[in-house]
Amino acid sequence: MTRRHADVAAAVLAAAVLAASPARAAGDDGAALAYRTYCTPCHGLASNGKGINVPAMAVQPRDHTDTREMATRSD
């Protein structure tokens, strides 16, 4: 796994944490910044799969706030 992949994996994990508990945004270990930089253009600032790039995409980005959907994904 490359460092960037690790960052993205950490960021997706952070998204799930932040969605469940926004108050934990402060004091994270950089995952929130990684998510904001790498993930929000497609997955959206609200992590709901509605980022600014969506109109150009052939596939709807995953909604990271959908806990039922995210529970089906491996860590």
Binding site: T2, R3, T37, P41, G44, L45, A46, G51, I52, V54
Partner: protein, 245 residues
């Protein structure tokens, strides 16, 4: 306008010739000529206030530094940009990144989805015509990463335009983040409809093959594409350049 093929080193040759003439004392009585690597012209215009002109140490190239940047790194501008494009753009700058350097900063959320606020990102200040040659020459001297350009892009693949576009937009997904036409909504990455006129072909090849070799925290994913697949993407950018008037 870009050359029709991949060979491009006239600007670099001018730098070499300029350096040679300076070494021989030729033109000593003429107007001052910036030597390659001389960043005086950039310092006079305070380019360093927004752009990094000297390579950071490896440990400094963090996401925190990336997120705090006011402008793109320029310490490899000489490896990256075509000098004739720089000369024209610096005098009359236009936005390259329609969502700005940090798209999240300009993104607003709504029930129907995220949008970009505030129209075009702030314009780069124009460089006075009388200074642009010195600025371009100084930028040409910022050649970090030049060793990664060795070998160049190789032979141009024969790929039909329609297939090249399908490959770029759908198969490789580049169209999710990059615009290939100006009359569509902005996306998070730099515009690419003029990328072939803007960037050295050998840089395009090297960057697409391994973006993180140029910037360890670059948002563009590296897909470990082989040389043929990289060449197809560069060829599509060349074909796009033919669309421009």
């Amino acid at each position: 306008m870009p050359s029709s093929g991949y060979q491009f080193d006239r600007g670099r040759n001018r730098v070499r010739i300029g350096a040679l003439l300076l070494a021989l004392g030729v033109g000593a009585s003429g107007p001052p000529v910036a030597r390659a690597g001389d960043v005086t012209a950039l310092q006079k215009l305070q380019c360093g206030d927004c752009h990094r002109l000297t390579p950071p140490a490896a440990g400094e190239r963090t996401l925190e530094r990336y997120a705090a940047r006011k402008g793109p790194d320029l310490f490899y501008a000489g490896s990256k940009f075509r000098p004739e494009w720089l000369r024209a753009w610096l005098v009359r700058p236009t936005p390259i990144r329609p969502a700005g350097l940090h798209p999240a900063e300009r993104t607003r959320t709504s029930a129907t989805g995220d949008t970009l606020a505030g129209g075009d990102p702030p314009a780069h200040p124009p460089v006075p015509k009388g200074r642009v040659d010195a600025v371009v020459q100084a930028l040409e001297g910022l050649d970090w990463g030049r060793d990664r350009l060795a070998g160049g892009p190789g032979a141009r693949p024969a790929v039909p335009r329609a297939l090249a576009e399908l490959n770029f937009v759908k198969f490789k997904g580049c169209g999710s983040c990059h615009r290939t036409a100006k009359d569509v909504p902005p996306r998070s990455g730099p515009d690419l409809f003029d990328a072939f006129a803007r960037l050295r072909p050998e840089f395009l090849t090297s960057y697409i093959a391994d973006p993180q070799a140029w910037d360890p925290v670059a948002p563009m994913p590296g897909y470990a594409l082989d040389a043929v697949e990289v060449a197809k993407l560069v060829e599509y950018l060349r074909l796009l350049s033919e669309d421009r008037p």
